[in-house]
Symmetry: C2
Subunit: 348 residues, 2 copies
């Protein structure tokens, strides 16, 4: 069998190329790196040999010497979540533009798994790590990463850690969303979903409370429900809310995914989002505009977030001592049908 499916043919190395071109290994290497020191004639001989032998450059071998792998690790909770998928897509394309490869790994929101994955990434010798830390990640662990490679954090902000990070403007987005609901006449507004430990959720919850109080509305803890970030989480939460003695008439949701669950839960309860009940999400994933009814949501450009994370990473690699940057992507409310009907007449 001359060429079996998985047989790795004996590698053609730079040495083979050099011999074929009658030059030293060093010269061949210089040709490949476009070093002007080599004459046109010699260069051509080497390039011809490369073609003739079908030589493939071995970045892995080179990186051993250069201490640069041109590889960035991306660690997220899961890819199937549309927000993460967009973020991944943005990061991948920004990195690919600069000839960096993306190594992807998922934590499933499991701290122990995250620890394992970080270790693997460091062993794979990535130049940098873009990490959306799972809840409960210690600052120490992040500090440790930074002793081995560059680090860019996505989402949570760790105070007291000199790391670049990207995030959305949770505060401003939340204020806009909650004020809009109040302006529409809603007063019993629930805050739905997200892991209780998540620092992102805590920031949004905080802004939610501030905004309500600022408008003279009392905060009811029974209306604040945490949950996994899944449709199921939103579904169950709204079920719980509707069973309250005084149920809310609006929900500001931790994410679009939660909001979809809430809308499904409303439908199951015979209610309709945008008519009987106002729903706002967060993220503006592609589905948000296409859902029925379309979802009012805080637009946060996950793709842009991924691109920005990649940019910060490339900058950090280029100048390790540059001052830390904390890039907050602006967010703004996109009003759609899920909040369309004002509730000025209803006593809720």
């Amino acid at each position: 069998m001359p060429n079996a499916p998985g047989r790795r043919r004996k590698q053609v190395t730079l040495k083979d190329v050099a011999e074929a071109a009658n030059v030293s290994k060093a010269t061949a290497s210089l040709v490949l790196s476009n070093n002007p020191r080599i004459s046109a004639a010699t260069r051509q001989r080497v390039l011809d040999a490369v073609d003739a032998l079908g030589y493939v450059y071995n970045q892995r071998a080179a990186s051993l010497r250069t201490q640069r792998s041109y590889t960035i690790g991306l660690i997220i909770t899961d890819v199937s979540n549309p927000f993460s998928a967009e973020l991944t897509s943005g990061a991948e394309s920004a990195l690919a533009d600069q000839d960096y490869s993306l190594v992807l790994a998922t934590t499933d929101d499991d701290l122990e798994k995250q620890t394992r994955i970080i270790r693997t990434m460091l062993e794979r010798d990535v130049d940098g790590l873009i990490l959306g830390p799972v809840a409960g990640t210690k600052t120490d662990a992040l500090q440790n990463i930074m002793q081995h490679c560059s680090l860019v954090l996505s989402n949570p902000y760790y105070e007291g850690l000199a790391a670049d990070c990207v995030g959305m403007d949770d505060e401003n987005g939340t204020v806009q969303a909650v004020e809009y609901l109040i302006q529409q006449g809603r007063r019993r507004i629930a805050f739905v979903g997200g892991y209780a430990t998540s620092s992102t959720r805590q920031r949004r919850l905080h802004s939610y409370r501030d905004t309500l109080r600022g408008q003279g509305i009392q905060v009811d803890p029974a209306l604040c429900i945490d949950s996994p970030v899944t449709r199921r989480g939103g579904y169950d939460a709204v079920h719980q809310l509707l069973n309250l003695a005084q149920p809310p008439s609006a929900a500001y949701c931790y994410s679009d995914v939660i909001a979809f669950g809430v809308m499904l839960g409303l439908r199951a309860a015979g209610l309709e989002a945008g008519k009987d009940f106002a729903v706002i999400g967060f993220d503006d994933v592609p589905e948000a505009s296409l859902w029925h009814p379309s979802l009012t949501t805080v637009s946060a450009d996950p793709r842009g977030l991924g691109e920005m994370a990649a940019q910060l990473m490339l900058r950090r690699i280029a100048s390790p001592d540059a001052p830390v940057r904390r890039e907050i992507m602006p967010s703004h409310l996109v009003v759609r049908d899920s909040t369309r009907t004002p509730l000025s007449s209803l006593s809720d």
Copy 2:
């Protein structure tokens, strides 16, 4: 600045560990690979040194010698597509289970970009490549990959190429879908979406035609529309279809994403899927069941596909000379609301 954000601290190597433990580099290496030849006492000394120095194993260096990188490349059109996201997720987790890392790259359905990416992957020295080739990919190019690493193809089947591949059962899924529509009384059934060059689309189109003819229905070329695999593609296609002198009353769509676009197009035209018009998708992405109305679709388990691709890859790496495998994942029709109302009375 003792520990700047991106500063790479001087690496602790195996040599440092060995010196600290008063053994040779070779012994330290043997300890790390759990070689029983080393006594418990020595082993412990080495492990202590590892801890004390904060040593991190360098897989990259090792792979130079072992010719194994424990890295698999995944090349797909784009991650943001939910089908691809699920596939990626499945592949990643199956590979991670066996301590393989996933390097992700996207082609945006651009042949030239695919060529560049394949080259980069080979230079990164991946152990294998899982590839969903863009339309127009030459068998030669694939053959060339196979001279450097293991290859698993996702989706198209290249005849005359001895490569493992995974795919869905396009034929059976299509037959089920079209027969179901006919059984519901539909006779003018459109085939909507997908790139004309795609071999997957050609297989489905073929089965669609066969099924219609088998039921004594004439195939109308005007009802077969190709398009990009986006919602926009489906939207535009259905617009075109509704403007025909004899518009169809049902659409069998190339993918769920197309079907969503079709449903949006119907809504824009004042029609409702599942009532005025039957819509069937392909893939059964998570959104399908949650859309309104929920989408009847051919379930194809993209996550399972990704897992299977990973399995085939691991098997191929383990035994390069194993016979080629062509794994067709069964598909079946999941009936939901988008086709719920039979159209037995309408003369279409």
